[in-house]
């Protein structure tokens, strides 16, 4: 039986370079797990999804041999080539096929090899998956659909192996968009996404596939969607992010603490529909907000958060909401360190905001 972990697990989890931790009490029973990396956590979730539901399928380009990031390793051997298979090289085909499969009452877990290559599937996702239920008056739905895709910078990906396209999908009513920050989160959120009765686009931070390591319970568990997590309590300023950017924000929090600034850090986890209340409550306490993401600042999801919080907390804000994000350029190879919303860019914004 799957259990839903609500803020139950994980403290002092082992982590590599980009270290992550959460600050809630640990339930003994749920802590038993080995330290594993993020792709292994995804792999565990997929094993469980296929094991617990005979109508679940996993497919995409090169998933048969384990996928280019190894997330689907061992699945074809274990569950057979009818349930875990390579597709032809065609993202629109993958998405359309997945929608049809899901519409027949299956759990279609489709992989798009890189988020940068999701655009050929855009029409299927935006015009079909997102509107399947609404346009039919709920006669039909494709809620069993989950599209997984690695996103974000890796240090050397250039234009087409680095993008963060989440904002496009957040602009589409009918879709959910989920992005985990760590192995433990990834496993629980992916299982929730797969089992959620709505189509979900699940972006995985590929920079963390190997780098991020933490103890992950071996059993079946789920983490709630549309619930942000306050992963660090603070009083001077609220920082909001998701995915790989959380670890950069954590470093900025540490640096700010040395200057006596107390930051509250929130991982949004589900971008749409997002947990406004948690962010609002935090900003009402701190009076300041910074949002940070890798995607270009203009029209990024940070703009939506900024605007919503300005509406809700106008009188409590001590400073304008700041955004520390990617630049409004295509993702560049040699300039990647300049493009990125780095720890020090965030630190600088924290100081400016606090002393506004």
């Amino acid at each position: 039986m799957a259990m839903v972990l609500r803020r139950g697990i994980s403290r002092g989890l082992v982590a590599a370079t980009r270290s992550l931790s959460t600050s809630f009490e640990v339930e003994k029973s749920t802590r038993e797990g080995k330290p594993i990396n993020l792709f292994s956590a995804i792999n565990q979730a997929l094993h469980i999804a296929l094991e617990t539901d005979p109508r679940a399928y996993v497919f995409g380009e090169d998933v048969g041999f384990g996928g280019v990031f190894r997330c689907t390793t061992g699945l074809a051997d274990r569950f057979g080539r009818n349930r875990v298979f390579n597709t032809p090289l065609c993202e629109q085909g993958i998405a359309g096929f997945a929608i049809g499969l899901a519409a027949m009452g299956n759990r279609a877990i489709a992989e798009i090899q890189f988020a940068d290559y999701i655009y050929p599937a855009f029409d299927q996702i935006v015009n079909e998956a997102a509107k399947f239920r609404y346009r039919s008056g709920n006669e039909f739905n494709c809620g069993g659909l989950t599209i997984r895709s690695p996103y974000g910078a890796v240090g050397h990906g250039g234009h087409y192996h680095s993008q963060s396209p989440e904002a496009f999908f957040c602009h589409v009513p009918g879709l959910k968009v989920v992005i985990p920050r760590s192995p433990l989160q990834a496993k629980g959120l992916l299982l929730s996404s797969i089992r959620d009765p709505n189509p979900v686009v699940f972006f995985e931070p590929k920079w963390l596939y190997r780098l991020s390591v933490e103890e992950v319970p071996e059993q079946d568990y789920m983490l709630p969607l549309s619930e942000a997590e306050v992963i660090r309590q603070g009083s001077d300023i609220t920082l909001v992010g998701w995915g790989a950017q959380i670890s950069v924000l954590e470093q900025a929090c540490d640096a700010a603490a040395k200057d006596g600034i107390s930051c509250e850090l929130i991982d949004l986890r589900t971008l749409i529909p997002w947990d406004k209340d948690t962010v609002e409550a935090s900003v009402k306490k701190t009076g300041r907000l910074i949002v940070s993401h890798e995607a270009p600042v203009t029209g990024g999801f940070g703009a939506e958060i900024s605007s919503s919080i300005a509406e809700r907390c106008f009188l409590r804000l001590e400073a304008p909401v700041a955004r520390v994000c990617g630049l409004d350029t295509p993702f560049p190879l040699v300039y990647e360190p300049f493009y990125m919303p780095t720890k020090n860019k965030i630190l600088h914004a924290i100081k400016e905001t606090v002393s506004y």
């Binding site: 090289l89 085909g93 234009h159 192996h161 409004d328 295509p330 560049p332 190879l333 300049f338 860019k345």
Partner: protein, 457 residues
């Protein structure tokens, strides 16, 4: 100069014959298959179960339907087109495994000068692949991908084109650029993303491009270049240029929607474009059986109304001849041509891949040794007395030296200056980027340690 013997007639008839092989199921005299459609009035196979065809339909046999696209004959038998042609479409070849021309083969004569340049460029490509691959392994460049096994496709196709023909590459065709004169230094500059890289260090290694050589800059997304090539070809036609567009792509690329859009657009717009498919058996780990169930790629041309040919991609003379004639037909008849070259991706997909995880080493070795396009071609030029061992070893070592030197120069060169991060997003830098540029300079001033020192600020 011997033109392909009766180019239009012999060669063209040769490959058309393959395509016209019978591909329908159902024998003429077999009784109609019972079909319970509830008494439809249509002529096609409409007899009710157990009934014979009623007399009033007998005329169908002699009737034709005038239909957009031409007359369609009515027939009383219900025949489905077969899913296969039975026998696979044959493959045009000139050189046998021993590098001897197959008797009776029709091919375009190659001058000694061109023949030797072809060989030298194939060797150069091979040396480039070895040395850049090694440089990636040493961590000097971030990524690389070889054309190993596809040298004949790269070089011989380029040799049959003119420099005015515009190229829309996938990524495993650097030989086309090499043939046109791109220097080893220029290749190295791109791979190192230095200030002399025409792409200004913005893209990953191997994403070459050159306006001078009409080689549109490589883009990683698969198959996007195909419909673009059709648009470019249409422009060449409207401008009455003696040139065509050529686009290269892999077997995997043919699964993308863009492939189908491109073929259809090309046929309908009568655009002079050559679709050159490198069917190398694999798309990363996906073998062609999991990519498509048609008889490869060549057969699809016919479905779109495009003249097509399958060639032995490891036979430089066959590739050269096919592209030569394809080009002539594309330009003089304003039509697209599809070429499917059968070959094998001998290397890993890229430096991020280990292909022994998903394919047998025997298979790789077989293609690397027995089917190597370079040694086959070498036998041929050697037999012609145009090449020998001594020339070869001297040439190889001079290419090695030149390349190692180029790599050193490229590695030491500065990166493009920081301001280039903001240029070329639009024709001029807009206000939002000007603002971001200012802020960035301040940040770099404040935290210089966060930024690479080889990017001039």
């Amino acid at each position: 100069m011997a033109l392909i013997c009766h180019a239009r007639s012999t060669a063209a008839r040769h490959f058309m014959r393959g395509l016209y092989a019978s591909n329908v199921i159902g024998r003429r005299n077999s009784p109609p298959i019972p079909f319970s459609s509830g008494g439809s009035e249509r002529c096609f196979g409409s007899a009710r179960a157990g009934e014979s065809v009623s007399p009033q339909y007998d005329d169908c046999r002699n009737q034709v339907l005038d239909f957009p696209g031409g007359k369609v004959a009515f027939i009383p038998e219900m025949r489905f087109l077969s899913e296969s042609t039975g026998e696979r479409i044959s493959c045009y070849r000139v050189l046998d495994d021993n590098g001897q021309t197959i008797s009776g083969s029709s091919f375009k004569e190659v001058t000694r000068e061109v023949a030797v340049k072809m060989y030298r460029d194939m060797i150069t490509l091979q040396v480039m692949d070895t040395i850049f691959y090694e440089a990636q392994r040493q961590g000097r460049i971030s990524f690389f991908l070889t054309s190993t096994g596809e040298e004949a496709i790269n070089i011989a196709s380029a040799a049959a084109l003119s420099n005015e023909d515009v190229v829309f590459p996938q990524y495993r065709e650097p030989g086309v650029l090499l043939w046109r004169g791109f220097t080893l230094q220029e290749f190295a500059n791109q791979c190192f993303g230095n200030k002399s890289d025409y792409g200004k260090g913005r893209q990953m290694p191997i994403h070459y491009g050159s306006r001078k050589y009409n080689y549109f800059t490589i883009s990683s997304p698969i198959a996007t270049q195909l419909p673009q090539a059709v648009g470019a070809a249409y422009s060449l036609k409207m401008d009455r240029k003696e040139a065509c567009a050529v686009t290269y792509f892999g077997d995997g690329g043919t699964s993308e929607g863009d492939f189908h859009a491109a073929l259809n657009f090309a046929a309908v717009t009568e655009s002079p474009v050559i679709f050159f498919c490198r069917n190398n058996g694999w798309a990363i780990s996906t073998p062609t059986e999991e990519q498509f169930r048609s008889d490869g790629v060549v057969i699809r041309g016919q479905a779109y109304g495009i003249r097509s040919i399958r060639v032995d991609g490891n036979d430089a003379l066959a590739v050269y001849s096919a592209v030569h004639l394809a080009r002539e037909m594309a330009i003089s008849e304003a039509r697209p041509i599809l070429i499917e070259a059968l070959t094998y991706r001998v290397g890993h997909h890229s430096t991020s891949d280990d292909s022994t995880k998903y394919r047998p080493a025997d298979e790789i070795n077989h293609w690397r040794t027995e089917r190597d396009p370079i040694s086959r071609y070498r036998k041929w030029i050697e037999r012609n007395g145009w090449w020998c061992d001594d020339v070869e070893s001297e040439f190889r070592s001079s290419v090695r030296k030149e390349l190692l030197q180029a790599i050193q120069v490229a590695e030491r060169a500065q990166k493009p200056p920081l301001k280039e991060l903001f240029t070329d997003v639009y024709d001029v830098v807009p206000s939002n980027l000007r603002e971001q540029e200012q802020v960035l300079y301040q940040t770099v001033d404040k935290y210089p340690g966060d930024y690479p020192s080889d990017v001039p600020i």
